[in-house]
Amino acid sequence: MSVASASIATTRSRRSGREGSRQEGLRRFRWAILSPLIALFAFVLLPVLFLQLYFSFHQWTVYLGSWWEAEYVGLDLFGEVLSDPRFGWAVLRSLVFAIGSTIGCFVVGFALAYLMRRPLPGQALYYAIFILPMLTVPVVVAYTAEMLLYQSGPINDLISRLTGIDFKPMWLTNPNLALATVMLLEIWNWTPFSFIIMLAGLAAIPKEPIEAAEILGASRWRIFWEVELPLLRPVIVLALLLRFLEAMAEFPKTWALFQGGPGTATETLPVYIFLTTWQYFEISKGAAMSYIVMLMMIAIVLLAIRVLRREKSSLDRMYAHAAAADEAPA
């Protein structure tokens, strides 16, 4: 009796003690997991962001002595950037580049994925070929483009031979064409991204609504617009948003091929920041510009994240539905 009650008592106290130590252990576990992340933020990201803020408010460049003794200029640098027409053009160019190449990638990638939505002989081979451009180092894309696109180069030669007209655009030296050239390269490079995402999306959407519409005699066209497209919305939004954000940051191809030229034709935001900082050595102006671009991008990203969160939950529902449908017959 006494032994039993004693054992119950110890079990109870052990249980509550265990509960307490469990909480304690969980807290320690949490910190152990997060400490590397916090350390990275504290020792790499934070100092960098602080330095950038410092330079945005202090006029300094390489020949102006020690940077920590730079002159405080308040908001002058921000004013200088915002009143710089080249900056405005760079913003515009970046947006045109990002939106244009995003749409291009998406249209081609979606079309390819749609053509391959049902298994067809040779699918694996086509898939492998279609993803190759994405597996090419961006700098390599730039240099390959140079080898292909000079005026009497193979691309113009090939198109001339195939069509019979004398096709001789100056892809690399015509200022009106240069940005379009980089956009075409971006589309070539990243169509695989839209392709694989859309193909995975097409594989994941439920089949019943489509079959039901087919049985009801809806045309292919109507099924596409009224059944498949709405079902694909989360995947489409994801493919467009992620590609747009990456395109806003595009640097290697634009820089390696054009360095912002001819003239200022390909001077997108990353290129202009790079030129300001590393060619004109206007470190402080570059920092202020970076800050403005960073705030602008954070605003865009936060907006994108809100949309992504919503779309992710509908995607997760779709996968849960598909998993349940898989288990049902078994």
Partner: protein, 292 residues
């Protein structure tokens, strides 16, 4: 019925035509750079363009990668063994940063998936790290690094690659962990295994193939990274993409064959890795949101 089957044949043919057309577009530039890498110097820039190297030569590869002297005597001489050193740098930097990213990423992902140590909002905020163009922090980063003595060092580049690829690692490994039923871990915990033991001895072995896919996926990103490497590594430590860009705009004129030989060498590992994980690429690029 007959008309219907004819229609079907025609639509299948149209489909193959469209797919083949893009396949040609996708593969032609890759074909061109491979062909150029085997061309003797008179055919690099010829008019009309030479499509197939005749006779094919290994001179470009021998000169660029091994600094072979007999080829270095020509006007297109590039007589250094720097690409091999860059290859070593690239391997060490990309390999180490990717490994760090996957190890810490999967630990964080475990905590998030099983213990909710980061809320969903925090997880999405982690993406900011990846979505802001790196150009905006590059200048202060290089000043900070020079103060720390990390400029032009492998450690510096490894650290920043680790930081910028961590969101991919966390999200991608989390999507694999989410697919593992919890019952297995709960059984292990009832048997008295600690959280760390459960993680390392039960969970991570279960998602082995997912971890390999994550590793290879992030390797693609770190292997081809250009901007940060361009600024942070000056002379001592160069990675392969930077080594390649040094062949551009130099006084010796257009050295297409040599560039191509270097470019092919840089790209082949990437393509092999990418084709190995081709089924996981959609998951990787969509932060694990789209699965396949």
């Amino acid at each position: 019925m007959r008309r219907r089957s004819r229609h079907r044949v025609r639509s299948a043919m149209a489909r193959y035509c469209a797919l083949t057309l893009w396949a040609v577009v996708a593969i032609f530039p890759i074909f061109w750079i491979v062909a150029t890498s085997f061309k003797p110097d008179t055919q690099w820039f010829a008019w009309p363009p030479v499509y197939f190297p005749h006779p094919p030569t290994l001179a470009n590869y021998l000169n660029v990668w091994f600094g072979a002297e007999e080829y270095a005597a020509t006007q297109y001489a590039i007589s250094s063994q720097k690409p091999l050193i860059s290859l070593l740098n690239s391997t060490v930097i990309a390999g180490t940063s990717t490994l760090l990213s996957v190890v810490f990423g999967s630990i964080i992902a475990y905590g998030v998936s099983r213990y909710g140590i980061l809320s969903e909002a925090r997880m999405f905020q982690l993406l900011i790290l990846r979505m802001i163009p790196p150009i905006v922090i590059v200048a202060p980063l290089s000043l900070y690094y020079s103060a720390l003595g990390l400029l032009d060092s492998r450690t510096g580049l490894i650290l920043i690659y680790f930081l910028t690829t961590l969101p991919y690692a966390v999200w991608m490994t989390k999507s694999f962990i989410d697919e593992v039923p919890r019952e297995i871990e709960q059984a292990a915990e009832i048997l008295g295994a600690s959280r760390w033991r459960t993680l390392f001895e039960i969970l991570l072995p279960l998602i082995r193939s997912g971890l390999v896919a994550t590793f290879l996926f992030i390797l693609i990103l770190t292997w081809s990274e250009y901007l940060l490497a361009l600024i942070i590594t000056k002379t001592q430590v160069t990675t392969l993409p930077i080594e390649l860009s040094k062949y551009q705009g130099t006084t010796e004129g257009r050295v297409y064959g040599r560039q191509a030989a270097l470019a092919v060498g840089i790209t082949i590992p990437l393509m092999v890795v990418g084709l190995l994980i081709r089924k996981h690429l959609a998951r990787g690029f969509s932060f694990g949101m789209v699965r396949r």
